[in-house]
Amino acid sequence: MNARFAIGKVAGALITLGFVLVFNFFLFRVVQTDPVATLFRGRNIPQERLDQLRAEFGLDKPLGGQFVDYLQQTAQLNLGLSYQSRQPVWNEIKSKIPATVALVGTSAVLSAVIGTALGVAAAWRRGTKTDYSITTSTMLFYSMPDFWLGMLLLVGGAIITGIFPVGGIIDAGSSRAGIGRLLDQAHHIALPALTLTLAYLGEYAIVARSSLLETMKEDYLVVARAKGLRDIKVRNRHALPNALLPVVTLSAINFGFVLSGAIAVETVFSWSGLGKATSDAIRGPDLPMLQGLFLLFSAAVILFNLIADLVYGRLDPRVRT
């Protein structure tokens, strides 16, 4: 790969991250002039205690001083103290990452693989019943709000039939370990993962389908066929590799959102991941927590966009220059 291309992309990503850092700080300062007052609104707390809290959170300094502190702390991965739990934000976030990555990561991979396969199948059988049923069903799920789809599955799969648990990551009070624990988790993850997979299938199916149809019009497929290459090989060697380029970009972008969790679906299934942490922090509002979460989300999106750019450069010689 062209080194200048790669360096340019990395530099672009770092600059974007820098903007996010600055923006992240001022965004919450604009929204909230005095977080401590809001946090203890309606409660009778002596002024000294409020002042003490402000000092604890570093809110007594002028804005410029706060900003410098913020930059220094962030550079050391110190994201401050959560207003709600009084624990370091980074520890709070760290403890939720595995749950979210398990749930959203699983569904991101499943929807990418299944959705792309469905889209490819639809394109090859364009205009047939297979095509219509794939397109209609995936679009149906895609256009449903994911929390609503989640509620439907929750009602059907947990409340009425009782096959799956209504929420949580493991059975309350369960002390199983090893395989048993893993099975328990799989049992819990099934419904939320199904919800998210169904919700994002459509995106992949529609992108893969239209991209493949577009590619199938290309003359180089006719050339290969004219040279005697069998149809199935023409598809696998010429059509698919070119048609799946947009799917690569799409998956990379979606994987960037894996860490952001799924705020609505995690809430519906009481899945204690980053998405649920976000909605809890908003309710506070727990500014350091939100600030930390936003920073993590942005960094993940930027990182995966960078990966997409670099991978794309490998796959498509046209963008390398």
């Binding site: 003359d219 006719v222 050339v223 066929r225 004219a226 040279k227 590799p241 070119n242 498509d316 220059t321």
Partner: protein, 317 residues
């Protein structure tokens, strides 16, 4: 007379109600360049796709050296397309593209050498400069040369060229045509070139066949046909070529008809200037023009026009 390389016998290709090719006889001789001329929608492309075996005939036959198209050795016939950019897979390098034909036919010899030879014969010299390039890194004219190298690498007997220079700059057209002509003269290759441009036919073709609405309506050696066209359609086409000064311009009325509704009688009669000017009345053939289909030109014909007026004049003269 030498044996024809390709013989097309009474070929019909219908797409639903549309008769894209509607009774064509044609022979291509080894080592000749035959230009297939006509407006868009006349069925030229469908005809060559059928010769390549990409489109199945509704009825009739395509024989390659006397054998049915399905049975022939595929690499003997190769194609060159109008748009070289679309004809090249953007993710393959030039050497992969050129080698593809060899890989499909499971070539036993030295692949790298064959690819380099094909590239230099297509005028890409030195070939090493092009092997590792991608299509977007070379010019349009060079891309068409890559397409030609990819076609020539299997040493075909027949090259089917569909508007090979229509998408190229005027300055490059001559070079590409010169290259094709040169390949014919040095290797004994036969070329069937489809074009809507009579000037191009003039430049490289030995023979010209004019196609109108799914049928060949006039055929003959290039000079003869272009110097003294007989069919009123050929005359009209020629009159608007800039090179033929002195000829009175004849703009045909109307569009080429829908191949789903081919006119009765002579398929050209609704637009025919001979009929419109009353000439047919005078010759006493106006009814025939409107009601009777002129006979299909045979593959063996050296000079013929499917036109009642031409026949009437020949009989009278």
């Amino acid at each position: 007379m030498t044996e024809a390389l390709v013989v097309v016998e009474d070929l019909h290709i219908h797409f639903g109600a549309a008769r894209a090719v509607d009774g064509v006889n044609l022979a291509v001789m080894p080592g000749e360049v035959l230009a297939l001329v006509g407006e868009s929608g006349s069925g030229k492309t469908t005809l060559i796709r059928a010769i390549q075996g990409l489109t199945h005939p509704t009825s009739g036959k395509v024989l390659f050296e006397g054998k049915e198209a399905d049975a022939r050795h595929l690499p003997d016939v190769q194609m060159v397309f109008q748009d070289p950019t679309g004809a090249l897979n953007p993710r393959r390098t030039v050497s992969e593209i050129v080698a593809e034909g060899l890989r499909i036919e499971k070539f036993k010899g030295n692949e790298a050498e064959a690819v380099s030879t094909a590239l230099s014969r297509a005028g890409l010299r030195p070939p090493e400069r092009f092997l590792r390039r991608f299509p977007h890194e070379i010019s349009g004219g060079q891309r068409q040369r890559v397409v030609i190298a990819g076609a020539m690498v299997t040493e075909p007997r027949l090259l089917l060229a569909d508007e090979p220079v229509a998408s190229l700059d005027a300055s490059i057209r001559g070079e590409i045509l010169g290259l094709l002509r040169n390949l014919v003269d040095t290797t004994g290759l036969a070329v069937l070139v489809v074009t809507h441009d009579l000037g191009l036919a003039w430049n490289i073709a030995d023979r010209v066949a004019v196609m109108y609405l799914g049928r060949i309506i006039e055929v003959g050696p290039t000079e003869e046909l272009l110097d003294s066209p007989k069919h009123p359609y050929t005359k009209a086409l020629l009159s608007v070529v800039p090179e033929t000064r002195g000829m009175e311009q004849q703009i045909l009325s109307g569009e080429i008809p829908d191949p789903k509704r081919i006119p009765s009688g002579c398929r050209f009669h609704p637009r025919c200037p001979v009929l419109q000017s009353g000439e047919s009345e005078r010759l006493g053939i106006a009814e025939r023009c409107r009601g009777e289909d002129p006979a299909i030109i045979s593959a063996a014909a050296t000079r013929e026009a499917a036109c009642w007026a031409v026949k009437a004049i020949a009989v009278a003269g």
